[in-house]
């Protein structure tokens, strides 16, 4: 359990077959099968990978590609209906493919650690953080006094660790929880750490801090890392070796930069072309090289267009009352004197981290939440003063698309009814003309009209988001408010939806208010950017201005945190 003795393996990715040290983890022709009620379903086929001691290897792929399943198999954590049906898992020379439960329990924690994906759901809500660290140390036979627990937490960068250990998970922010999980994962000094999307649920700046810290720690301890991610940019930046998985198979593997600059498999090529972090990096590189970036950037506002402002927000403020003890309440200013405007036919992005007030802005502009003060003018009319009936008409002209396509569609409504509902509510046309409209809308979002009778649970995430877009467009709105509309989607699907939104904009002259935490996406779609921090708008301007010359430290930090920021890519990469 001491620090591993080898040094310096990090930094040069040992290729397979060299006579260097023995691989720490080796998966040979691994196949994993899930038994379902419809028979056996292969989840992973012929997966092959090697992790050398101290090396960081990333597995990249979209959801359902088998990347997590592969990694979980290595620590014996396959779901109950999954099994290794072929191949072998070799850890430090020992075949653990069919090792006994006892042996696997002995390896877990002490030899192979794990940092899971979602910090919100991976800590048991009913036990204190300290308890959850202590039981890890105890189970692996390490000293587990309060000072040991505090030391482990402090190593993971948790401030004030000794007193923090006495708190419950819900008293921690997402970033702090992830630090606690990293502390747990590394507490017993494992030689291999499986990091399953360790930061995808976090804000970009936090993501960067956490990954930096994880890098430093694993480097100091000489821990090898098997990093699982959907973000190719992040993988390339953090790992020595990248393995791309697609539909249960390893389609490409190699040193990170080589894979980015020279992807051979068509899927990798697509991935390289559409990963937002890489796309935005490509724009940077192209600009530096002085190459025209028109086809890389979002379509700019039509030249010579009158600066007709469809939405003008002025001094918008929202104060929430937070109930405290003894009936007292304190004021919390979620949005503080925010002003911006959206020119007709363009996209304005509001960017910020969680808690910055960006979603509250979206809700107020949609008229779903009342403003404490300030005005929102839509076509010159202040919507905060609208009556019931006028509000109803306003809603017809401004439509939302929300983040979670799983939550925003009624599971009991079929697709036809979902899209037709706004038309019916607003009394548009008769049954026949409404059906025609629904067909047109499905066509616009590139879904077959045969889908009308299906239900949301039969659709993929991307298809659902298309349905949500079709529903938003049903009433021919002028403004569409996208609240994190693509953040829940896989990169390739994300790219498709962004393209669809851009096409619809030029076709229908839509204006978008794009609420997002993802600057890489902003770079691709927005004309204007407004950056929010703690309820205040700290910076705004055209996308180029903000990206090229960020004026505030906060924006600079946000930009620097885009994964892949450290990559230097030749502009012609595509």
């Amino acid at each position: 359990m001491s620090h591993t003795t080898h040094t310096g393996t990090r930094g040069h990715a040992a290729a397979d077959g060299t006579d260097g040290p023995r691989p720490l983890l080796e998966l040979r022709d691994l196949a994993i099968t899930f038994s379902t009620s419809n028979g056996d379903v292969p989840a992973v086929r012929n997966a092959h990978l090697t992790v050398m001691p101290g090396e960081t290897v990333a597995i990249v792929g979209e959801s359902g590609s088998g990347k997590s399943t592969t990694a979980l198999a290595a620590i014996g954590l396959l779901p109950a209906n999954g099994r290794v049906s072929n191949g072998s898992i070799i850890f430090d020379g020992e075949d653990i493919t069919h090792a006994s439960e006892k042996r696997i329990v002995a390896l877990r924690g002490s030899s192979i650690g794990m940092v899971p994906q979602d910090p919100m759901s991976n800590l048991n809500p009913v036990w204190k953080i300290g308890f959850q660290v202590r039981e890890t140390l105890k189970a692996n036979g390490l000293p587990s006094g309060p000072q040991d627990v505090a030391k482990v937490l402090a190593e993971a960068g948790l401030p004030d660790a000794a007193s923090r250990a006495n708190q419950y998970p819900h008293e921690f922010s997402g970033g702090m929880r992830q630090r606690a999980l990293i502390a747990i994962g590394l507490s017993c000094r494992p030689r291999l750490l499986i990091a399953d999307e360790p930061t995808s649920a976090l804000d970009v700046t936090v993501q960067r801090q956490i990954l930096d810290h994880l890098d430093t720690m694993t480097e100091e301890l000489g821990t090898a890392v098997l990093l699982i991610t959907h973000d190719l940019g992040l993988a390339a930046e953090r790992a020595h070796k990248v393995i791309v998985m697609y539909k249960g198979q390893v389609v490409e593997a190699g040193p990170a930069l080589e894979l980015l600059t020279n992807p051979r498999h068509p899927y990798t090529q697509k991935l390289v072309a559409s990963a937002p972090s890489i796309a935005s990096r490509r724009i940077e590189s192209a600009k530096k090289a002085g190459i025209a970036t028109d086809d890389l950037l979002a379509p700019a506002a039509p030249a010579g267009a009158v600066m007709d402002r469809v939405i003008e927000v002025e001094d918008l403020t929202k104060v929430f009352k937070i109930r405290g003890n003894w009936g007292k309440s304190t004021d919390f200013t979620a949005v503080d004197k925010v002003s911006f405007s959206i020119a007709r036919g363009t996209t304005t992005a509001v960017v910020g981290e969680s808690g910055s007030g960006k979603s509250t802005v979206a809700k107020m502009v949609l008229g779903l939440e009342g403003a404490t003060s300030g005005s929102i003018r839509f076509d010159g009319v202040d919507i905060t003063t609208l009556g019931r009936k006028e509000m109803f008409d306003f809603r017809r002209r401004v439509q939302p698309i929300f983040q979670d396509p799983y939550g925003s569609l009624d599971p009991m409504y079929n697709i036809y009814r979902t899209i037709e509902e706004p038309l019916r509510v607003h009394g548009v046309g008769n049954a026949k003309s409404r059906e025609k409209k629904v067909r047109e809308l499905l066509d616009q979002v590139a879904l077959p009209s045969a889908m009308m009778q299906r239900f949301p649970n039969e659709l993929s995430g991307g298809q659902r988001q298309r349905v949500a877009i079709a529903r938003a467009l049903a009433l021919d709105p002028e403004v569409v408010i996208c609240d994190e509309a693509v953040s829940a989607l896989d990169v390739l699907v994300q790219a498709q939806i962004l393209t669809l939104l851009a096409d619809l904009q030029s076709e229908l002259g839509l204006s978008y208010l794009f609420i997002t935490h993802d600057l890489a996406v902003v770079r691709q779609i927005a004309d204007h950017v407004a950056v929010m921090e703690k309820g205040r708008l700290v910076e705004q301007g055209t996308t180029d201005e903000v990206f090229d010359n960020p004026r505030t430290a906060y924006t600079q930090a946000l930009l620097a945190a885009i994964p892949g920021a450290g990559l230097v890519l030749p502009p012609e990469v595509a």
Binding site: A106, G109, P116, V126, E135, A139, G324
Partner: protein, 308 residues
């Protein structure tokens, strides 16, 4: 926390007022003359009837009757029932038996329900799970008086393991069989609730993380699955405690237990207004206190819940 408890206890006041008013009104509205029940088949002389009416304030309008009753309650005088015995004495006499029975039933259903539910949940879809589910379904479906008489006949009369009925002393051994019958239906619910909850939690992310930390299977189940699964079960058990305290009318009838349920049943049959109102009010207060206890227990089990 203290402030929360004070507030919850204060909330009992409107509950108490509303409940007594409602029950008093219902008893007041019962058809028939209350004095007829006291006098029996031979009837009383008009003078006696008038005297009874005055004694129980039956000649007063509803509001006056109700307020006089409240005044009695607030001065800790529940009055006398139609047979002339102080109601407070009667409740003090029968309540310990009922409380004993209810707590025994609660312990039986909690222990067996949680243990069987946990095992069934961990072995979802296997033989143990399926058989336990079928048995619990039968228990829920068959009416309690059928189960009660059946067990009384088999265990009490045929096998003679216990007395078929309970004596006036109501010892723990005597109450065992009635407690099993009383707890049987809730046992089935506790089992199913625990099972569902365990199945849900066993696939939770934090359980997988706990396993990944290197904990033994046993520790993962006890520390990370069971405690989290108990949260909904405890809510059910608390509400059930309140129900068991008052709702044992059928079981107490079958086994001839001299408890609150039996007394209430007789009072209703006799149209004994003061007695009915007092017992029901007492039960409501017990129910409210049981719920308060559950809420506090809930906060202890789930630290995310904080009362201010």
């Amino acid at each position: 926390m203290v402030w929360y408890i004070v507030r919850r206890v204060l909330q009992l006041v409107p509950v108490f007022l509303g409940a007594t008013l409602l029950v008093y009104f219902l008893v007041f509205s019962l058809p028939g003359d209350a004095t007829a029940a006291i006098c029996g088949e031979r009837g009383c002389t008009p003078a006696v009837v008038a005297g009874l009416r005055e004694q129980y304030n039956l000649d007063q309008p509803f509001w006056i009757q109700y307020l006089l009753y409240l005044k009695g309650v607030l001065t800790f005088d529940l009055g006398v029932n139609f047979s002339g015995r102080p109601i407070a004495t009667i409740i003090a006499e029968v309540f310990p038996t009922t409380a004993k029975l209810a707590i025994m039933a609660l312990v039986i259903e909690a222990v067996f329900g949680i243990v069987f539910g946990l095992i069934a949940g961990l072995r979802k879809g296997r033989l143990f799970d399926s058989s336990v589910l079928v048995v619990s379904l039968i228990v829920i479906a068959v009416p309690i008086f059928v189960l009660g008489f059946l067990m009384q006949f088999l265990i009490g009369v045929k096998l003679q393991w216990t007395n078929p009925t309970v004596s006036g002393d109501a010892t723990v051994t005597e109450l065992l069989l009635p407690a099993v019958v009383l707890g049987l239906v809730s046992f089935a619910y506790v089992l199913r609730l625990t099972r569902t909850s365990v199945i849900e939690n066993v696939n939770a992310d934090y359980v997988r993380t706990a396993t990944a930390k290197g904990l033994s299977r046993r520790r993962v189940v006890v520390v990370h699955v069971l405690r989290n699964s108990l949260i909904p079960v405890v809510t059910f058990l608390g509400a059930d405690l309140g129900a068991l305290m008052g709702g044992a009318i059928v079981t107490e009838g079958i086994f001839n237990v001299n408890g609150v349920g039996n007394t209430l049943y007789r009072a209703v049959l006799n149209g004994d207004g003061p007695m009915v109102v007092s017992i029901v009010t007492f039960l409501i207060l017990i129910f409210c206190l049981a719920n308060l206890l559950v809420d506090l227990l809930y906060a202890w089990l789930d630290p995310r819940i904080r009362y201010a």
